[in-house]
Symmetry: C2
Subunit: 201 residues, 2 copies
């Protein structure tokens, strides 16, 4: 729902046309999350269908302008006043992948972690460089883009910390299991992962 709401928010400031909406969006969020122009038009169609925007004739230059309806204005205020992810956070593919990797046999968990860390650190460097370059220009229009960059930096750092955490946790587990196996065999969990999948008939 991000794009729908983004377009609505941009229309709250003033009526705009499709191509312009993409430009405004990308100016604020930069080249990460590129916005396909086709999607702007399909989204505008759906917003019109849902009575959140209406076509507004043209702007004297032949552009197809859209403006918010009252319902659309309401929707924007609602979006801004209600926090994101109250209940269900979006699925995190990396977390899912590692969760499966550690519970399935034959997966090189350390390798997965290592490959991901290399990639994430690379991204972190890119974001940091982009931030330096953008900051240097010192243009007021870049404020939003700089915040977005910080967001990417913060979450990538968290991702790397989590990878480290997973790695040391895996090490703990394997050494603990080894120690348990030699010292008190009977307390060891069965090595073959148990699959209680509910009722067998």
């Amino acid at each position: 729902m991000s794009i729908r709401h983004s377009l609505l928010a941009l229309l709250q400031e003033q009526p705009r046309y499709g191509y312009q909406l993409r430009a405004e969006f990308e100016q604020r969020t930069g080249s990460t999350w590129p916005l396909n122009i086709g999607q702007v038009y399909t989204t505008l169609d759906r917003l019109e269908r849902d009575s959140l925007v209406t076509r507004d004739g043209d702007d004297g230059e032949g552009h197809v302008m859209y403006r918010l309806t009252d319902a659309g204005d309401n929707e924007v205020r609602n979006w801004f006043s209600h926090p994101v992810a109250l209940t269900n956070p979006p699925r995190n593919e990396l977390a899912i992948k590692l969760a499966l990797a550690v519970t399935l046999p034959g997966v090189d968990v350390a390798g997965v972690i290592q490959a991901q860390r290399v990639s994430s650190m690379r991204s972190l460097q890119d974001y940091t460089k982009a931030k330096r370059d953008t900051s240097a220009q010192n243009r007021a229009e870049d404020t939003a883009w700089l915040l977005v960059l910080d967001s990417l930096i913060f979450s990538t750092e968290a991702e790397i910390r989590w990878l480290d955490h997973c790695e040391s946790r895996m090490l703990q587990l394997s050494t603990a299991r080894a120690a348990g196996a030699t010292r008190s065999e009977k307390h060891v969990q069965p090595h073959t992962t148990s699959h209680s999948t509910g009722g067998r008939k």
Copy 2:
């Protein structure tokens, strides 16, 4: 693509049926990201269509079993060996929302930040509690779920730090602008946000 790959990964261990796949997925990732059972079946249909899985008769108890094809096995190995988000990180709704909030007039940015922080801290508490409760049971099957919880905790902490960062950055900007306005009016950026949207005809 997370769900497709998750099902494939679970099928790599052994042939399974639909209901079982959901149970295995939820055991590993917990009650966050609940997996609708209908989607398991539609996803299995699509995986079959794409020749990544095949129906495998039954398991002697009448269940509709699926197993990986060679192509499917390949796909899983590929998923595990290639890092996530090499190019485009997934859209972050919160980052987008704040980026728009700070560049549009009439939005109570401090209020948005504050509301979000309350919500995020609440989530953080919930995750921390869930972690305590799950750790206390000390069951080997919960390893993956605990890692997922840690992931949620790490990223929520990063989110809160970013919110703090945004808040202080906003304060800096407004005081700098105020100081600039009193001390040297001519250096001040125009207060009306500029909207260069590309070519006017």
